[in-house]
Symmetry: C2
Subunit: 427 residues, 2 copies
């Protein structure tokens, strides 16, 4: 019988023999397979000498599967602090169905407990909220708003000490920035976490991330923070400030890095050590929610030879644009074959808000040093200092969403609302 | 008499007293000034209590200026190896005119020698070539082509041991990528270097960078490499591979970082130590030049809520686009409010080449892991593994510039032409 997707197989090629699970392939010329390590790879059909079913381990799997079907009780310990969990999708909430290769979501406390029992030694999960289940690259501002509403409700409940949000990694830093602007006067910790390996993989990074998230959620740090592996070892996590963080690696467990700032804290399952100043917990306070947002915004990265016409296109569709400028704050000007300055002047005169953020990611803009910077400043470009382009885009939508700020957009973009500008940043 | 741009002044504000040089200001509400440290800052006029000329140091400066006008002889030592220098502009070739605040270029060997005498203990500069003088953000492929021609001519001259190119920092990594593709079968070192501080500043990083560049240019490493500070101390440089390097900081001396690879070598003024394998010098060989380029290309960074219409715009104007995708290789698909997949399928069917490169910068794409990646792959998106988006854009222009490769664009984009794909990259 021909092996089909879902089957465990042995593939022999000229170079090696692989034991793996066959998946549905996106290309007819390759076999897509999942390795024991959890990685998927494509094997060229032309390289395959033999492909056969590997039956031996099948029974063991069936047995395992059966045992998983048994009911698992969620441990609740009376004396543990209570938190709420908001589950939104992503690898951390997913599990590969070994039969079909499709992803299944974990949404119930009992499922969470089965895969991540360790966090329940630190906290009681009072409620699990599931506003939606999505990969994070499929989210937009409406999803950020939904999460923010859930967070507000939880934080303003006297029973709850903090909130943990599990989330896909790709655009987690956009959501953490959005929550940082939407929630003001935070009273309790808001922790976002993730995993880069799904729960069905032995080496999943979710266990440590969730343990440390639980520790951070009951700590004194009343900030929006992203908690995850500090390095590729499974030893401790960082709590990173929600507006100063970026996914900096496609696959590493420590994919998230603090940019132009310090981590808020080091976190272990059993303790947390602050690294920099933070807003302290105040359970008596109420957090304020403001989810006004204007999504007529865009992010554009400047590159050599960029065409000025792009600005006409942007001007027709959007009210604000973040441009990732080069160096200290430059775009092609006078000496360039394609001078962008006239186009930028024109669209700004027509009312488009243009902000500049560094495409180097690290460091601060300084438009005063060279003439292109000074000319762009003169034209009305708003230079956002050391703000991340991603954070800048979210902030621009937030600021443009407030009609009362219509006449002070520049002032608000340069106001340090939630730590997005680091005045103390050194070279 | 009112101080005017170019004057040394004392400014007293509520907070401090600053001695500085007044520059032409881009905004009427601020004074733009250059500090002793070389930094420019803006001082709000409303904060200024007193502004007056600082006459005391004037005489000393005039004297210094006078002494600079005297002729300086270039040291040439018969027994030192010969190199050619190609000067293209940027901070390293600039000097602030203290009178006007304008930038002046250094283009003659004698001027170079005055500011950077140390490198002339290592090499003899046979020729200084000046194809143009530009800030690097104002360059495009035509400038890369001009530089490549000069490099070819120099490398194929028996007298010359290697070439040093001085260049602005902002888009230096684009030029280094272009030279890596334009020049094949390299026979001798091609060194690009820069500075983040201009020559008029005491703390300029140019001296060490040029010394180490001279050392690298006469070494055995026949590669296109970027030589500059390895850290913020003035102790040694790295030689970084031209296709695996990116400006990662707006202002630091060690702004350039190797991405998804190792440095080629550690370089001191008096020695060089290889870190990874390299192509060895062969003075008897001739380098080959191929500067074919199609500039109907664009770079686009995906962000949450991105509008599918952008792909129609791109399709009308360009033949190839590099999209900075999220995570392992994702864009908004089925679950998203704005699904980009139909638009991408349409433009690919109409002939637009779409390549994907990681917006995390670090790490490798793997479109097989999640369904958005697999769907994009099926639609015909070319996933460029761990290639930098900037290198990918240059490579795409190079590949599309060759009509003979018309039917194997994907194959060429995934062929490791100059080390732009690192197959050995680990997590």
């Amino acid at each position: 019988m021909e092996p089909k997707p879902g089957d465990k197989v042995k593939i022999r090629t000229v170079k090696e023999e692989i034991e793996c699970r066959l998946l549905e392939s996106p290309q007819s010329e390759i076999y897509l397979v999942k390795l024991e390590s959890g990685y998927n790879i494509g094997v060229k059909k032309e390289d395959v000498i033999e492909l056969k079913k590997a039956k031996s381990k099948r029974k063991k799997e069936k047995k395992e599967k059966k045992s998983q079907k048994g009911k698992v009780k969620v441990k609740t310990r009376k004396n543990l602090p209570k938190i709420d969990m908001i589950i939104t999708g992503g690898t951390i909430s997913s599990r590969l169905d070994p039969e079909t290769g499709a992803v299944k979501w974990l949404t119930k406390p009992s499922e969470l407990f089965r895969f991540y029992p360790e966090m329940f030694d630190i906290v009681n999960v009072r409620k699990v909220k599931v506003p939606f289940m999505k990969a994070s690259e499929n989210m937009d501002f409406k999803d950020w708003q939904k999460i923010a509403k859930e967070v507000e409700e939880s934080l303003n409940d006297n029973e709850v000490e903090g909130v943990i949000i599990t989330h896909g990694t790709d655009f987690l830093h956009y959501t953490s920035a959005a929550l940082s602007f939407f929630l003001s006067g935070l009273n309790k910790p808001v922790v976002l976490t993730y995993s880069q390996r799904s729960s069905d993989r032995a080496s999943s990074d979710a266990t440590l991330n969730l343990q440390c998230s639980a520790r951070a959620a009951i700590s004194d740090i009343a900030e929006v923070m992203l908690v995850g592996h500090a390095n590729i070892n499974d030893d401790f996590c960082y709590a990173l400030p929600g507006v100063k963080v970026r996914k900096m690696h496609t696959s590493r467990r420590d994919a998230f890095k603090v940019i132009n700032d310090k981590p808020l804290a080091r976190v272990w399952p059993d303790r947390i050590e602050a690294i920099k100043g933070y807003r302290e917990r105040n359970n008596k306070k109420k957090v304020k929610l403001d989810i006004s947002f204007n999504d007529k915004i865009a992010l554009v990265k400047f590159y050599p030879g960029m065409d000025p016409e792009i600005f006409d296109f942007l001007s027709q569709k959007y009210e604000g644009v973040v441009v990732e400028v080069s160096g200290l704050g430059h775009l092609a000007t006078g000496e360039a074959r394609k001078n962008l300055l006239p186009a930028i002047k024109k669209v700004i005169d027509n009312g488009l808000v243009i902000c500049a953020a560094p495409q180097t990611i690290y460091g601060r803009l300084d438009p005063f040093v060279y003439s292109p910077g000074r000319e762009l400043l003169k034209a009305g470009v708003i230079f956002l200092e050391d703000m991340l382009p991603e954070t800048a885009l979210v902030k621009l939508g937030f600021v443009l969403g407030h009609s009362v700020w219509k006449n002070k957009i520049k002032e608000k973009m340069l106001e340090n609302i939630s730590g997005e500008i680091n005045k103390r940043l050194e070279e």
